[in-house]
Symmetry: C2
Subunit: 479 residues, 2 copies
């Protein structure tokens, strides 16, 4: 499941060994783990290391302590429900969006009493707010005119340099001059779409697809073809090849890592193959990599951009899912579309807010970002496992559950006869908000699917809300 890296703490190594034995079925639900003393001898590490490892596994809901008895496995991959099936959207352009449903779900967002399973952002408890405030003050002190004057069109140079340095993590090898900063990742996608396509053109996306992308493309007058997608591996290069051979597709937009909403992650080998295909057809690929840094495995997955030597990949990112959504700090490395993107930014926005960019740059510069990410990844990983366990327990057995290896989201496939928009309406009465699957397509499908976010701290209230959701699904099913 996870690979070990030399950076990991010793206790994490021990925990991961046990975790992989649970995943392989070597350890089964109900099995008792060796006592702390015995395990310490077996592994040749201290007792406190083993205690830490067990604590880590307990926090992920994988094991439990029973008083006077020891540690027991409570979680087994075998017991977990199946993964959602590969999607089969129509291969034609569709226009049937769910604008009103989206507006309804999002108008409820301001309600503070809601349990917002519908929102794909880190909860404020997970953000390093005090340190960010400090970085903002430092930025104002350091910037010429305290950041009150226009910055250069391309954006804060320090931030661009740090993103370039950071790109080593996915073998991106970017330079500061390859990057243009934007007001968040959607703004990067907006400029990218404007750069590569115009009204009447057709683009291809994954299905299901983040509704924001569908609405953005629609507002630019673009036609959309949805491609089949697998909950584990995303789109299949062969499907892409077929689509490009058959239709006049002007550009492709993918969320390659920890897709929203399907949670898939395209294997690096497939990314390489996808880049080979777009180079063959000379078609630009807009890569939304907003979740890439929030991986649960041993190392960051690569990007399509990693394999691109043609300049056809426009790689987009932001800190909205890791540091501060409200800072509106995003970027794009647009390859051969650099000049076009710079001009689009100048025409539509003139510049971006330089203070937040400088503050984020300082975070990346001095290791604070990596430190913060480690904590965030651990917390979200634990959350994801808690959710999967809870959903397996509370929802009907035939509920299919995606297996996020990063990000904030879980995609559920319920019984074909269930309608998740009806479920939304029922759940909102209990102050629980979910995202119905129909929001994520322009076709008449995914009515029986839904997206849940685990971006909130795990607690009894969350647990109860998932239990209530499960009850509503079961009631629904029998009505």
């Amino acid at each position: 499941m996870e690979t070990l890296t030399t950076n990991d703490h010793l206790y994490l190594k021990v925990a991961k060994v046990i975790e992989s034995q649970i995943a392989n079925g070597v350890l089964k639900i109900g099995d008792r783990l060796p006592s702390v003393r015995i395990m310490s001898k077996e592994q040749g590490v201290s007792i406190s290391t083993i205690l830490q490892a067990y604590y880590n596994l307990e926090s992920k809901g994988l094991i439990e302590t029973r008083p006077q008895s020891g540690y027991f496995i409570t979680f087994s991959s075998r017991k977990i429900n199946a993964v959602p099936q590969k999607t089969t959207p129509e291969p034609t352009v569709s226009f049937n969006d769910a604008e009103d449903m989206i507006a309804e779900v999002y108008n409820n967002i301001a309600n503070d009493n809601l349990i917002k399973f519908s929102l794909s952002v880190p909860s404020r408890e997970f953000l390093p707010i005090a340190k960010l405030n400090k970085a903002m003050v430092e930025a104002m002190r350091k910037l010429p005119a305290s950041g009150t004057m226009y910055e250069s069109i391309q954006g804060n140079e320090n931030l661009r340099r740090q993103i370039a340095r950071w790109s080593i993590n996915w073998e991106g090898n970017l330079k500061a001059d390859d990057i243009v900063t934007t007001a968040g990742c959607m703004n990067a996608l907006s400029f990218s779409l404007m750069a590569v396509a115009e009204k009447g053109d057709t683009i291809a996306v994954e299905s299901p697809c983040y509704f924001g992308v569908l609405q953005l493309a629609k507002s630019l007058g673009l036609n959309i073809v949805e491609m089949p997608s697998d909950a584990i591996t995303g789109i299949d290069p062969d499907d892409l090849k077929k689509a490009l051979a058959k239709q006049n597709i002007k550009a492709i937009l993918l969320t390659s890592n920890f897709n929203n909403p399907l949670t898939s992650c395209i294997p690096d080998g497939n990314k390489k193959e996808i880049v080979r295909i777009i180079q063959h057809y000379n078609i630009p690929l807009i890569e939304d990599d907003i979740y890439g840094d929030v991986y649960f495995g041993g190392r960051r997955p690569k990007c399509c951009k990693t394999y691109d030597d043609s300049g056809l990949v426009l790689w987009c990112g932001s800190v909205s899912k890791t540091l501060a959504p409200g800072y509106r700090v995003g970027w794009v490395a647009p390859g051969r579309y650099l000049e076009k993107i710079k001009r689009l930014k100048m025409y539509h926005a003139v510049g971006s807010t330089t203070i937040q960019q400088e503050a984020v740059a300082r975070f990346l510069e001095n290791g604070r970002y990596e430190h913060h990410l480690r904590k965030l990844r651990n917390t979200l990983h634990t959350n994801s496992l808690q959710y999967i366990r809870a959903i397996s327990e509370y929802f009907p057995e035939d509920t299919r559950i995606s297996r996020p290896q990063g990000g904030f989201l879980i995609w559920l496939e319920l019984d074909k006869n269930l309608n998740s928009y009806q479920l939304y309406k029922e759940a909102i009465k209990y102050n629980i908000s979910i995202s119905p699957g129909r929001m994520f397509t322009l076709q008449d499908r995914y009515h029986h699917c839904l997206r849940l976010s685990y971006g909130m701290p795990w607690n009894e209230k969350i647990n109860e809300s998932l239990q209530k959701l499960g009850e509503l699904v079961k009631t629904h099913k029998h009505s």
Copy 2:
């Protein structure tokens, strides 16, 4: 010229009386003013008030002190050159933009050694930077999660309330809910254009027109009709009526107050008439009011929005010309297009940076903005008079000069045979940057015009640079 308001200081009232006598020709160049003692008795005010008034007139270049002799008029409206003629663009759609010229002029912007007559922004010396920094820190302290989380789509509520309150100054009577915040004014214009027109549609603008608007419209695939414009009164309602009767125009975009680059200000009566016309034709009007607060007269000019009860006017503004260009704080009150604009903002940007908005709101709230604006207006007014005096002195007599009543800009019309792009290339050798007139049209015109900004503190270096420019024009003329 200026009307008195009860808010003015006593010395300003005295100064304005003398100023209007100069404008009327009652006082002529070389006339000696009454001594401070006599004037004090005549006006029934203290000697120090008169001294302040004379100092104010001196700083505007209207009078001078001659040792042992007293105060003399140095400036007369009669002596000043003529105003540029009303423009006569072709009434058809044109596509011939000056993209490369614009890029050339703007690529030089980063050079710190340049005297940037080409840049329409307040110099950093005019910005209240320390107070803004303080407001930023206050904003972080006050906002939920210190402004790190997404704000509501419509934007910071406190800022929207303050803009609404402030709209009393131009009888706008806006409510907070009428307003959507944006990342600066260009971003407001971008959303507004997307809301009212789509690729292939034709819009009407003033000629000359700010090049940013021309480029934005072009990047959205819009066709542009340029309308005749007067350097004092802007577009004529009759011309607008003719254009609308003849062509299929989808929307109009105007800078009604202190136009960039022509510096015209549409008289309030004409604004009312323009709104009547667009209501008759049911055509939306995008009003760029970014310079409206920087007026030199006794009171703020009104807006087209003031007279709009149909919701057809989309009123756009920002603090980029008054407080902090780098904050990217702008807004639009889009009338009947409110829902459309909110959705466009959600699709293309998700949200805006709430910290800067809150900081600006606090500035507006506690009177700091009005206090700052009074100083800024006085300084810019003085600057504009210094420029006009210097240009009258250094440039050929047939140079036509606009008469800004607000804003940052002067528009010059040189001898028909002069080419201001050639002048740009000559001037840049002396580290002087200007904006050639050709940048402000899609037609083959304004080659003999140029735009100058007086947004920098007046000093000997500026004076010398204008003198050098004048010399270059004269050399050019005789070559």
